[in-house]
Symmetry: C2
Subunit: 528 residues, 2 copies
């Protein structure tokens, strides 16, 4: 067992070693030599003045519910930069009064009943990796966090249809561990994989690590079961249906506001045995974008099709390429993928790409699993962010999606807004972009910001930058979130983005399913 | 200009010739020699006692609205067997009082306003090809059919993102005609293609002709614009988004109950240049099903993967194969598809398939377009159905989808229920099955029934058969419809299939968007 960090990403044991911190800080210090890299370690939870719980559970629920300070603190917010900074600053506003850990669906029914009767807000909680304020009781009145960690089993595997019935509180690694004996995988690897759950993925419409096709949790979902205050909702296991608007699509993205997802039948795949990865460099970014678009539109469906802009390529892949680097990969459990990658590379080369590397893992079994490569490169990034946040750096990401015809204008506007804001707020900084996902009709650009902040002000500084870039991407037709969800932080832009009649329909659905309005108040929908 | 049949499928001009009728009737008569094939031609509309309109339009809307008997009759119902039979019998209950043909979105706003004020039901109408009672005013009180035929233009084409903004009333062929100069295609070819519209496809979650991947209209939709009584809803053009539950997914499948879809940005593809089709025969049906499943799970994504059972193969493809026939095809605008089809055929052969034919159209341009092959084989089927319906034959289809692990039991139960019902009701008959679509986790089986009815009773006979098969597929985990929609005919099974909390949410959304409850009463949702 590892112990989860109460203030930052992941587990205390897996945090960066002193030597790793030195490396990261040294690399950033080379770019920003004037910055004050003084370390501000997290306060001890014992030293914080956490308010006492305003409510006590009824006796029949008492054994499911904790009022321990450390428990409440560790559930008080997600893992965004602004969450980490507030923890480091000892800001303990909006701590849940209690943390409930149901062991059965009936426990959830009982807890929701009590919350409705006693007018207590209830925040469904998976791994707590929200980066949009999705699990924070940022409202008045008492709140209970409903942590689903005990609902963590794969209940059934159907290896004919390749699907499994899985409880919502199952964390990524534990989920894959339970599937492994069957030879099947959910193949859903968001960056938060280690510390996020199936239920969280479903509630937030999570995007996986793969660039095209079956990577969004939406498309991997066969049916959903959820406890709502108005009763249990369970859709039929179906590969496809045209029977009215999809019930599952109402819960996908509902972010805990309409019900508590308890389990789902999820579509699985065989573990890949074949895989080839090719990286290409470009002399100019527009050609790289064009190549990426043409690959995305060719009907080839690469598992990876990730365009790193020059700064991103340098910072995260150590590659110097004036037009950026395109990573292309195919994988298959069924067949060698040479014909696929060869055509994709041909397209990219026709647009000016130069092959930098090619890694061939055809027929080499699970070593070809892209998740392996992914883990080594991505999984420790949030730990680096935390180490830098302690040293007054502003390190955060934001993401969107837009159509290809609008990308140039959006990218210019967002980059300009980010650069302006960073300079105004911090004096200097770096803005990078990569495509995390590509569709035939557009990319999902993902931006990272590195800027030297002032200790005590980094939260306000980031909020100013975030607001500026959100305005820019919203004004240029992007979505306020492609796979980070809405939560509380994205509300102003989400409210503008969604059509008013849809907002009215969602509000009405909320009223029908959660008439006491106890579920995750302030997320997606007005509190009352 | 061709004239639409008021009583049956399509246009009068395209109906079967006398010689074609003789061929069809002869073929069926060989199977059912005792049947009375007396022709019962449709009555003349002039001889029908159509009730007078119960409402008159206000002067400002008068020029958009027709009260002509022929107009009202031709909009009275869809094109199911039970619609055609009732027309042939001169049954003119439930004829709309008026037919409105708006020319602008503002016209639609005005008509809805009038309907809400005057308490008149309004039925949005595309091509009128519903086979589930979706456009029939089967309720008390006055009704207006809102025919969108004048909203029939492709308004914008974005050939970078490969998408187009298209008005909802555009019929399939006219839509493709307008796209053709751009080299792009929507590639959505339901069997109703000639006589159905984009808006109808969106409202009913239509399935295209292609077997896998991008064939459902849901997945081809970038954004939707709709007039609701509560205001205009327009989603943002996005290739993907994680911002709350998808607004578009609320309108997809709403069947005219929440608003009138007026236009949509749709994802397009380049026209295919490469294509290979292979047919394989099997000695036993379970092996053929297994082969189909393995191809569907191989990550190859064939454009066609259609398994015909032995009876279906014989009746519709003239092929004698004891285990049925599997049609596999790949197509691409970008690359030769040999590697793809070779692997798919290899899988099928490993399961006992024998290659019966192979047609290679690699690099031969639009001739390789699967729609061409499709048209010749499918497009005239409904005309044959009508010719047989006039001769007291019961000829109708029903369809579902289920997971692979449940297919055997579902297929046995449905086939038994259909065979029993046909024998009970008609004494004899034929039941066939094909897969129209396949998913990694399950097939979409499509059943056809051919049975000798008694003139004057074929409607009741079909209803009894339909009820029996619907019970069987519903009890065995299938959806009551995979791509024919719910309408009024599927309501009993749909109501059981959908989760109760979802029904409550949908009801609440209806109340929010259509408080006067004028839109398509009785479809999906209780009338009041």
């Amino acid at each position: 067992m590892t112990s989860r960090s109460w203030w930052g990403w992941g587990s205390d044991e897996a945090a960066l070693t002193a030597a790793e911190v030195d490396t990261v800080v040294g690399r950033v210090a080379a770019l920003m030599p004037d910055h004050d890299f003084t370390d501000h370690p997290p306060p001890s939870p014992d030293d914080l003045d956490v308010p006492r719980p305003r409510v006590q559970p009824p006796d029949v629920l008492a054994e499911l519910i904790s009022d321990e300070v450390a428990d409440r603190l560790s559930h008080a917010r997600g893992k965004a930069f602004r969450d980490v900074v507030r923890n480091l600053e000892g800001d303990v506003t909006h701590v849940p009064d209690l943390v409930a850990r149901p062991t059965t669906e009936q426990d959830i029914v009982d807890i929701l009943d009590w919350c409705a009767t006693a007018d207590i807000a209830c925040i469904p909680y998976g791994g707590g990796s929200s980066v949009v304020g999705g699990v924070e009781p940022r409202f008045d009145g008492p709140a209970i966090t409903l942590d689903l960690e005990h609902l963590n089993r794969v209940l059934e595997i159907d290896d004919v249809s390749r699907a499994a019935r899985i409880q919502a509180g199952t964390l990524g690694p534990h989920l894959e561990d339970q599937l492994r004996p069957s030879g099947l995988t959910l193949r859903h690897f968001p960056q938060s994989f280690e510390f996020s759950t199936l239920g969280g993925w479903l509630a937030t419409r999570a995007g996986g690590h793969f660039a095209t096709l079956y990577t969004h949790i939406d498309d991997l979902t066969e049916s959903i079961r959820a406890v709502t205050p108005a009763g249990i909702s369970e859709s039929r296991r179906l590969p496809g249906s045209g029977a009215g608007p999809s019930p599952d699509r109402l819960f996908l993205g509902s972010e805990g506001t309409l019900g508590v997802i308890t389990e789902a039948w999820m579509r699985l795949q065989e573990r890949p045995r074949h895989g080839i990865t090719v990286t290409l460099g470009f002399n100019d970014y527009p050609s790289a974008v064009q190549a990426t678009r043409m690959v995305a539109q060719a009907g080839l469906y690469p598992s990876n099709c990730r365009l790193l802009d020059p700064a991103e390529a340098f910072l995260n892949a150590g590659a110097e390429s004036p037009g950026g680097v395109l990573i292309l990969a195919f994988e298959s459990a069924d067949h060698p993928v040479r014909a696929w990658i060869d055509r994709a590379v041909e397209i990219a080369v026709e647009q000016g790409g130069r092959v930098l590397s090619r890694r061939d893992r055809e027929g080499q079994g699970n070593e070809g699993d892209s998740s392996t490569a992914w883990r080594s490169s991505f999984i420790r990034m949030p730990y680096q962010r935390d180490a830098l946040a302690r040293r007054s750096m502003i390190v955060e990401t934001f993401e969107t999606a837009c159509t290809w015809d609008g990308f140039d204008a959006l990218h210019r506007a967002v980059t300009a807004a980010a650069t302006d804001a960073v300079q105004r707020v911090c004096g200097t900084g770096v803005v990078t972009c990569r495509f995390t996902h590509v569709y035939p009709d557009g990319p999902a650009p993902y931006y990272s910001i590195y800027a030297p902040g002032r200790w005590g002000s980094t939260l306000a500084q980031w909020d100013e930058i975030k607001s500026a870039v959100s305005e820019a991407l919203s004004a240029n037709g992007g979505t306020i979130t492609h796979h980070h969800a809405v939560g509380r932080d994205h509300r102003p832009w989400y409210d503008r983005q969604r059509p008013d009649p849809f907002a009215a329909a969602l509000e009405a659905a909320k009223e029908a399913l959660d008439p006491a309005r106890i579920l995750n108040p302030g997320v997606l929908i007005q509190t009352r």
